[in-house]
């Protein structure tokens, strides 16, 4: 039902999606068929006599217990997967990135060589220090602030989300990832990218989708579309909510390291 998952954790999501959609699809078909078939078949006439049929404990038992059993399975699988996705404790050497939101743009901060983020607070926002990082925190010195996300393929990424004004929501649909950014607290989420941006562009379903989109764009004389991962805002946040996005690029790990090494540290930028 969904486009291909671009995160490894999202694969189980897709399984669960498939199971759930098959189930509700079948039930939907049967129920709608019965509703309309019975309505047609038993439509009123002078000769018809309705059957006096007030209850049946057996039937009611069946249709209480059957959904209950099915739900136990769905709930079980769902909770197992939820635990998988939300538990960030067991990953080794994750990339730690802070995603920072404000009306109406995104920024990001990489934890640098020590892989630990310096703390932040709105009171530190001043001049170049647009994310309010506490520069007296020694962990902050080597942090790197960027406006586009680069992620390494195959390595777990831990996101910490902050907001400086209203609620935002970091929505990365391709990765089956979403988490609110809440002023006054740090929220978190994590996943492991499965395909580089280039590999995604080469997937048949993505190629097909791009061709369709470009047919429309060509007709309007607009610039052609090339697939990119995106981070969108998905919590109403003000007038330009509809245009609050950040590009995400997934690359091989060596390329990622190279890119990161080229970014200036906060100490270099803020001074």
């Amino acid at each position: 039902m969904l486009p291909e998952s671009a995160s490894i954790e999202g694969e189980h999501d897709d399984n669960l999606f498939d199971i759930t959609f098959w189930l509700i699809g079948v039930v939907q078909f049967i129920m709608q068929f019965l509703i309309f078939y019975f309505t047609f078949k038993y439509r009123g006439s002078k000769d018809r006599k309705a059957k006096f049929y007030a209850d049946s404990h057996k039937l009611e038992f069946i249709w209480t217990v059957t959904p209950a059993i099915v739900l136990v399975v769905l709930i079980g699988y769902g909770l197992w997967q939820w635990n998988n996705v939300m538990d960030l404790s067991d990953s080794e050497d994750p990339v730690i990135i802070e995603v920072y939101s404000q009306q109406f743009n995104w920024k990001a901060r990489y934890a640098g060589a020590d892989n630990t983020l310096g703390t932040g607070n709105v009171n530190f926002i001043k001049g170049m220090n647009t994310m309010g990082v506490d520069m007296s925190d020694k962990n902050a010195a080597d942090d790197k602030q960027v406006t586009e996300l680069y992620l390494p393929k195959g390595r777990k990424v831990h996101f910490r989300f902050r907001s400086q004004d209203v609620l935002h929501s970091a929505y990365m649909p391709h990765f089956r990832a979403q988490m609110n950014c809440v002023p006054g607290m740090v929220t978190q989420f994590g996943f492991t990218p499965k395909y580089t941006t280039q590999e995604m562009r080469d997937l048949p379903e993505v190629i097909e989708k791009s061709i369709g989109i470009n047919k429309i764009r060509r007709a309007k004389g607009e610039e052609l579309y090339i697939f990119d991962y995106l981070l969108l805002c998905n919590k109403i946040c003000g007038a330009s909510h509809y245009n609050m996005q950040m590009k995400i690029t997934v690359v091989e790990e060596d390329e990622f390291d190279e890119w990161l090494s080229l970014q200036p540290t906060l100490t270099e930028v803020i001074k």
């Binding site: 999202g10 309705a50 769905l74 709930i75 004004d165 089956r176 979403q178 002023p183 989109i213 919590k235």
Partner: protein, 593 residues
């Protein structure tokens, strides 16, 4: 009461009336008026979504300074969806639905002369009227009405710097809601007291029609959950106007750090959804109650599994108060809480499934009188199933993170609570119009109304599932800034066309309603050959409902097509006809059903 007639003036009869039948009509007409406004708003923002770059003179005419050359401004788009949601959920489907039918039917179906307190009932309506007025006034303030979404999450709703609608518009929104909640609580207490105390002789709880069970339980849910929204609103008012920090902390906006420290928006989300989720059932249960009654009457069969239906209403009511967190899986709350709420949420599928199966079984081997009320009731079962099933996706936290706040959610809740509850309301109006106005509504117009409405409802909301799965967020003013959504543009046009036709199609109903009041065919006392007590009152309304003594009840409400020989479907009807009024004593040797 009927013994001591007061002299009625125009004012006491039509305006400050304490008669539940008149108050019911007042709720209905006010609710319809608010509904028309909310539907017009949805048509405006659907125009924007389908043709974001096109200039419309209608937009220019309606939105005044909130548009540029016939294209609406982004913040007024958000205001329109906010007010559309607020009005539909609270003013139409809570007050319009419960206010109309609880008021009309509770006294009439339990055999009471009026509500326990006619005076409070009148106050309830006038508070509703006042809150509607305040909400409508908020549409005209300079910076525009509240625009933080109908859920009004702070800090967006708390800070005018964040969005213009969070200035005076939001203040009026909160004032309106506080008055609304007072109205709703007074009404609900009245319904509960009336059902518990004023049932006529023989009307035991297990002989109550399912409508009354639904209204009764709805009122209880309201009393449990609405005060929490009132508290949430009050704290928000404090934060906005008196500088407290219940929901706000660490905010930097418009170039300065605000003084708020230590609050959390997540607290507001908890408080809001503690009402917000039960609210879904406050909206839906009365519609299901109405449907149970109408499907049984028009199938000429008892409702299947009467006690299971009561049980599932109670189970839904109980569960509805412990599932609110499923709106907050990605709010940043502890994931363990997410697990608990997934568990409780998916459990609601069980009583909901029981209800759906019981409706279908009631249709089975019936003698279906497919009048407009019946069609809308069957339509409700259809949309309730369609919308309810996708709840299994959204209620599952692991899946919700992928499609939370996309159009999939919009499709889900519109079908399961919006369209279903509206269908229940329409069904109720077609069915009880003869009781309310002593006239019959036109059937042909009713059929047109039904078919246009159900086709357009599915035409609007079915495709939304797919654009949601494709990842399109809701509450986007336009999605042209995302090339990845370009291929959804055509679907948006289709949805808008259905929305426009469906919206305009409601004229069939409005016209039918008002013309029938004046020109409709005169109603007979029991036009649908129904068992319940309201059809034993005279067609002309009188204060106190029954001219003589109150009726006495001898049986449940669902003895339709009862046979002489219970095991032989070909045997004669036990009472010589296919319905038996609740006032009919048991025949000698007759088993109560």
């Amino acid at each position: 009461m009927s013994e001591h007639h007061h002299k009625e003036t125009f004012v006491t009869k039509y305006i400050f009336s304490q008669d539940h039948k008149m108050i019911s009509k007042q709720f209905l007409v006010t609710g319809m008026f608010m509904g028309i406004i909310a539907v017009l708003m949805s048509m405006l923002f659907r125009l924007q979504l389908a043709w974001p770059d096109t200039s419309f003179s209608i937009v220019e005419a309606f939105l005044g300074s909130h548009q540029t050359d016939g294209i609406m401004d982004p913040d007024i788009y958000l205001a329109l969806v906010t007010i559309h949601g607020t009005i539909m959920v609270f003013f139409v489907l809570t007050a319009g639905l419960s206010g109309t039918f609880s008021n009309l039917l509770i006294p009439l179906q339990i055999g009471a002369r009026d509500m326990a307190s006619g005076f409070l009932n009148m106050i309830s309506y006038w508070l509703f009227f006042l809150s509607s007025t305040v909400m409508l006034i908020s549409l005209f303030v300079e910076a525009g009405p509240a625009s933080a979404g109908w859920t009004v999450y702070p800090p967006l709703s708390a800070l005018p710097q964040a969005i213009p609608g969070s200035g005076m518009g939001m203040t009026l929104w909160l004032v309106s809601m506080a008055i609304f909640i007072a109205s709703s609580l007074i009404g609900a207490l009245n319904y509960i007291v009336t059902v518990l105390n004023l049932r006529t002789k023989g009307m035991t709880m297990t002989r109550l029609p399912l409508t009354i069970w639904a209204f009764f339980v709805t009122a209880i849910i309201g009393v449990v959950s609405f005060p929490v929204l009132l508290s949430a609103s009050l704290l928000l008012i404090f934060d906005r106007s008196f500088g407290t920090s219940f929901y706000l902390s660490d905010i930097f906006i418009s170039g300065e750090v605000l003084h708020y420290q230590g609050g959390s928006p997540v607290l507001f989300e908890h408080l809001f959804w503690f009402l917000g989720h039960p609210e879904v059932y406050i909206v839906l249960l009365p519609a299901l109650g109405i449907t149970s009654e109408i499907i049984s009457t028009n199938s000429r069969k008892p409702i299947f599994g009467y006690r299971a239906m009561i049980g599932s209403i109670l189970a839904i009511a109980f569960l509805s108060t412990i599932v609110w967190g499923h709106h907050m899986f990605i709010s940043g709350m502890n994931p363990f809480l997410g697990s608990v709420f997934t568990f409780t949420t998916l459990l609601i599928a069980i009583p909901s499934a029981v209800k759906a199966f019981n409706y279908v079984t009631t249709l089975w081997k019936g003698n279906l009188q497919l009048n407009p009320a019946m069609l809308f009731s069957i339509g409700l079962v259809s949309t309730f199933v369609t919308g309810g099933l996708t709840g299994l996706v959204l209620g599952d936290s692991a899946l919700d993170i992928a499609i939370h706040d996309t159009y999939f959610v919009v499709a889900h809740f519109h079908l399961v609570m919006g369209v279903s509850a509206i269908f229940g309301m329409y069904a109720g109006i077609y069915h009880w119009f003869p009781k309310m106005y002593g006239k019959m509504m036109n059937k042909t117009l009713g059929y047109w109304h039904f078919w246009i409405t159900i086709i357009c409802a599915y035409g609007v909301f079915w495709p939304m599932h797919f654009i949601g799965l494709a990842g399109l967020p809701r509450r986007y003013y336009t999605n042209t800034n995302f090339p990845m959504f370009n291929d959804l543009a055509d679907i948006n046009v289709v949805i808008t066309l259905f929305a426009l036709v469906g919206g305009i199609g409601q004229i069939f109903f409005i016209a039918n309603f008002f013309i029938s009041i004046y020109r409709g065919e005169k109603a007979t006392q029991n036009p649908w050959k129904s068992n319940t007590l309201e059809w034993t009152t005279p067609v002309e309304h009188i204060h106190g409902n029954w001219p003589g003594k109150l009726p006495e009840v001898h049986r449940w409400a669902y003895d339709y097509s009862k046979r002489v020989d219970a095991d032989d479907d070909d045997s004669d009807y036990l009472h010589g006809k296919d319905f038996v009024l609740q006032t009919t004593p048991l025949l000698e040797g007759e088993e109560p059903s």
